[in-house]
């Protein structure tokens, strides 16, 4: 589904990604862990198509297409979803209408008919229940006045409604208390499917207690220096990153 090959990316004059390789297949859940400054957020931003990153080498293939050539909205319509680390507040733009516009843009892209208002509302209400969000969310502006936890739940709600093929979760667990973490994890687990891949980018392993990954990768200085199964995450939690770095240098 996703194949990243020797990806190099820079921001202004600073090279952040330096030869990153990663392959993700449908149905898989990957966790990408790494210390601060290792390039985690750059990776998620590059995949979602944010401006300001220069790709100097390498390629990203998504469903056999060149992902880097696509505008952010094209990527979204092709099924790439980024759950933001810091979801932005957009006063005056209704939360639920954005969701509806996004969903209908995707359906139109796939040649499907638009969902009518009643069906759409039913779908959103069902997903909101799962995310334990109350009715007032329907009326509010995008993330407007939401707490940190509410913003993260709203991201996962969007993911549940839009049903993307590739979900990239950027530090979705940061700033969540234990109850909110459980709700968010429930939403992520509900998204697991044979035709969907999930990439969780995270600093800590605590999200992985609730959402079990198939693969765990360590990102360091813009490259993946070690990959393993979920036991690697537990080992990182216990021993930190230093030993992996030394092992890779040896």
């Amino acid at each position: 589904m996703l194949k990243i090959d020797n990806l190099h990316a820079r921001v202004e004059d600073k090279e952040i990604l330096r030869g990153l390789n990663l392959e993700v297949k449908p149905g898989e859940v990957h966790a990408i862990m790494g210390p601060n400054g290792s390039g985690k957020s750059t990776l998620s931003n590059v995949l979602a198509g944010r401006d300001g990153y220069e790709i100097t080498a390498g390629s990203v293939r998504y469903l056999d297409k060149d992902l880097l050539e696509m505008a952010p909205e094209e990527r979204a319509r092709e099924g790439v979803f980024l759950a933001f680390q810091y979801p932005v507040e957009i006063p005056g733009v209704n939360n639920v209408y954005l969701l509806k516009a996004g969903l209908n843009a995707m359906r139109a892209h796939r040649g499907e008919e638009e969902l009518d208002a009643a069906d759409f509302l039913m779908l959103v209400r069902e997903k909101m229940k799962l995310m334990q969000m109350d009715e007032s969310f329907l009326k509010r502006g995008v993330n407007e006045g939401f707490s940190g936890g509410e913003k993260k739940r709203n991201e996962i709600l969007q993911m549940l409604v839009l049903e993307p093929k590739l979900c990239i979760l950027d530090e979705t667990d940061s700033g969540l208390d234990i109850d909110a973490l459980k709700v968010v994890s429930q939403g992520v687990n509900a998204s697991r499917a044979a035709d969907r891949a999930i990439v969780m980018i995270t600093h800590y392993q605590r999200l992985l207690n609730y959402v079990e990954p198939d693969f765990v990768h360590v990102l360091y200085q813009g490259r993946i220096i070690k990959s393993g199964d979920k036991s690697l995450a537990l080992e990182l939690e216990e021993r930190g990153y230093e030993w992996v770095v030394q092992e890779a240098a040896a």
Binding site: E73, A76, G92, V93
Partner: protein
Amino acid sequence: MNDMASIPFVGEFRQVEGHLPGGAWVTKLREAALARIGEQGFPTRRNEHWKYTDVSALLKAEFIPAPLASMPEAFFQGVQRFELDCHQLVFLNGVFRPNLSSNSLPAGLTVKTLAAAIEEDAEALQPFLARERDSAFAALNTAFMHEGVLIEAAPGTVLEKPLHLVFLSAAHEPQPVVTHPRIIVRAGRAAALRFIESHLGLEGARNFTNVVTDVLAEQGAQVRQLRLIEAAADESHIANIHAELRRDAVFVNHQVCIGGKLVRNDIRVDLVEENASVALNGLVLANGSEHVDNHLDVRHMAPRTQSDQAYRCILDGRARAVFNGRVYIAPRAQKIEANQASNNLLLSKLAEIDTKPELEIYADDVKCSHGATVGQLDENMLFYLRSRGVDADTARSLLIYAFADEIIRRIGIASVRAAVEAAVLGRLPDADSIRHFTMEAS
């Protein structure tokens, strides 16, 4: 004194005076106004309050005064875009058209054309007509005033439907038309009325509209005014508005300015007795080389008075806007609350906003705030919307609309708010795709 004939506009007075209403008292008033212009002239950019707005091209242009212009009726067939549920008075290039106006008015409300009111009893209107105004354009209006409206709400009258004054401006050749509408609104004790003043420039119009408006709100009266100025690209509009508020009175003024070659609005509000309050909200959309200048002047003359100014400008192309918000608090006018916000969105590198707060406070127990922001569309917001599948143009329009909506949503009358929304959306690309995003739609 200068040679009167050489002063812009003034030279035509002798040709027009036979067409103007009023007896000896009004004639004296007109002559005095002309003399004032002769002595002081029109403002130049050396005048601090006209620093950013250059009227020299306007003064050089040739206009025909409204009473001398002809306008075939057929010209206005099909002009029917203002279908609000309102009592309506329509003026075409400054001339009242009873056939386009509705005439059933509720008890307690008197509406007369200005010409009729002046012919009947001009001196009764002395406090308004003879008011000292520091403006050559207001004096010009006094000299030439011809048409307009007198609205009087008797004490206790509460008007259910708003009044809609429609000023249509259509192309007139070879010379464009200058009109000087005069609007007087008197709300008696505890009366409540709402009126909409639409200035709509039809395509190709190059006219100049020079309005003077007076509002008097007696004790406990409430007056709500919406000025919608949708000027054609080559039109000029200058307005001088003065409101006086007595005890417990409320005045709300919304201004929505969409385009125009030169638009300048001066709004002065005198809060002369305790607990009077005023809200001035404004939205400016300008593009190309359009120029929109709003000067607000709120004077707290009595204790426990409140004011709130909120203006937003959205500028594209080489458009320029000016916001000057003055708040004056007189000595001994204690327990005042005054807020001011000027927020501006620049969509191009060449657009320019000059925003200036002017606070003059001579009392010590007051609560005042003011803030100004100038910015571009937020890249993070744009990216967020696009990452959810919204295309770039729609995302841009959506954010521009959301910025404007902070002002639009303050408009109380739903049908009017919808009309303003439509007018604003009409200026944005991808209007159809964003209509559903607004809060109102939910």
